[in-house]
Homo-oligomer: 336 residues x 2
């Protein structure tokens, strides 16, 4: 029921995914069943893998995350997470209230063994790379240990899903030198440096695209601001360019000849291609789709969910967190 | 002595400013005098308004801000701030270590009456607007009251220097609804709402360019990340576009015809045009120039310094802060 375009976009994207991914065994559509049925009818979809799960409530954007879990027990997100909890589904995809998706998965599924707090891993394209920004907005009041674990979980995702063998981790800070940053980031810096991660050190906003690392670690507030600022600047530049190109006939002719260049970039930076961001660290798969998700974005969010299962992201996270805890755990006191 | 390009760029920019702004009465160049003299000679500059002030030390990027003020008493930034402190100069411009410029002005000049902490006000262009981002990196561990005052100081700058009659203030947060954000931003939200500022509410990263306000309020960590991320994305898009446009002869022909569009935008987003960001709230004028300042950027940083004096930014800030404190001060207890 979530997302700016509601059931029409969500159902259309689901139908696309069913056609394209034969490996999907079952697809639950959770929400107001008459609405969902009407949408399925529009697409003439009678795929036997679809099962509608009726729910009567919707989490509104003004609802508080934790309260929404407690009070709206029959919300679509809550019911969808229940399907994962009870083993009927492997993953949940939501384009609705991010906070509610984070709260309901964290409360109902709990975190993976050893993981303190889940974090949203957004994949961001550069000209020559793909980097993971973690946390993109799940955990607003983070502790240093959470960011260390984001470094571990982001590296797992970069390695096993995106295919970077030895992903390089950067800590988002202000100033590159080791001594720079806030009290909080300096603490995280020490922990990352002592870990076995491939840690490059502090990075700044201008490094994101000029000297990209594969994993950018930050708290959820900063990560959310970065994610939305990147989107905003990119959109603004292309819109502005379009206006300028329309101003004279000569420029319009030029734009026509050069259109291939614009298309290549627009395609590569299109968030619809990336579909959704996994919430890493919960005991189950949860994909946070963009609020403004189109059917194409929803289809790809379902693909991202499938990839997380296929590449065994969660077992790898559990293993890496365990390994970290073992190597840094305090020594047992000697038996006297 | 600061900045990535050191005395050559700083002196060249100063010479440009002297030629262009006859109203500059005196220009102190503070640093290693043989180096400065050699640069002045290159430009055949024997302007009587120039006075070289020799200093023997330089703050390095790895120095800690407050320590640099205490230990390097003969650094160029320290000596330059002394000139303002003793009334010889009205303003100081630095392209060096931002933290050192903030610390030395705050320690030596103190803040304006009523101002708790200074903040860097960066001016950022959009297609149709100019907005002030405050704080862009002076105050890493900010309190809610500091951000309220940034709203006031940013509004003063927008009104009196940039010419927006009733500047609209947005609080950088995650989620637009009043209840969204961190504990910290929710506290600031309440204070801004109760103030007499033209407060629009929470804004998110994607609003920066899509629905721009005139003043964006945030803490120095977040502001610095935003500023550098905007720069990074903008640069990356243009660089990428250039590569794509060079890939075929047809695209190259198109780019040639459309070049006017690219030039218009590049000129408007060029940080060199904005030159420097005022550190608002110190008792004196301090302009933080970009580390990578070219001569053009330095010339414009000197212009920004002059504008702050001419438009009486500091007296207006004192007045507005006083007015805020009067209207929100607790009532005197009634005399029994």
């Amino acid at each position: 029921m979530g997302g700016d375009f509601g059931p029409p976009a969500l159902v259309a994207g689901s139908v696309m995914a069913l056609r394209e991914y034969p490996r999907i065994e079952k697809l639950f559509l959770v929400g107001d069943s008459p609405k969902i049925e009407a949408e399925l009818k529009k697409h003439a979809c009678n795929d036997g893998r679809v099962e509608i799960v009726h729910s009567t409530q919707v989490v509104e954007m003004s609802d508080k995350p934790v309260e929404s879990v407690r009070r709206k027990k029959d919300s679509s997100i809550s019911r969808a997470v229940d399907l994962v909890k009870h083993g009927s589904a492997d993953a949940v995809v939501s384009a609705g209230h991010t906070g509610a998706a984070v709260a309901s998965t964290t409360i109902k599924l709990r975190t993976l063994p050893g993981v303190e707090r889940p974090g949203i891993a957004s994949v961001i394209p550069t000209e020559s790379n793909l980097f993971v920004l973690i946390d993109a907005g799940a955990n607003i009041d983070a502790k240093p240990m959470h960011l260390l674990q984001y470094g571990i979980m982001g590296s797992v995702y970069s390695r096993h899903v995106l295919g970077f063998e030895n992903p390089c981790v950067g800590l988002m800070s202000i100033g590159e030198e080791d001594v720079k940053g806030s009290e909080f980031t300096r603490e995280v810096f020490k922990m990352l440096k002592e870990s076995q991660l491939n840690f490059r050190g502090n990075i700044e906003g201008h490094d994101l695209f000029a000297h990209p690392v594969e994993v950018v670690v930050c708290d959820g507030f900063v990560g959310n601001v970065i994610l939305k600022t990147c989107e905003s600047v990119g959109d603004a530049v292309f819109k502005w360019l379009k206006h300028e190109l329309m101003k004279t006939k000569v420029r319009m002719a030029g734009a026509y000849l050069a259109q291939g260049a614009f298309r290549t970039i627009k395609k590569k930076v299109n968030y619809e291609t990336y579909g959704g961001s996994p919430l890493l660290g919960v005991n189950g798969i949860c994909i946070i789709a963009h609020g403004a998700s189109t059917p194409l974005a929803i289809k790809n969010a379902l693909r991202v969910a499938a990839e997380s299962i296929e590449h065994e992201v969660n077992p790898h996270i559990v293993e890496e967190i365990r390994r970290y805890n073992e190597t840094t755990a305090p020594l047992e006191p000697a038996i006297p």
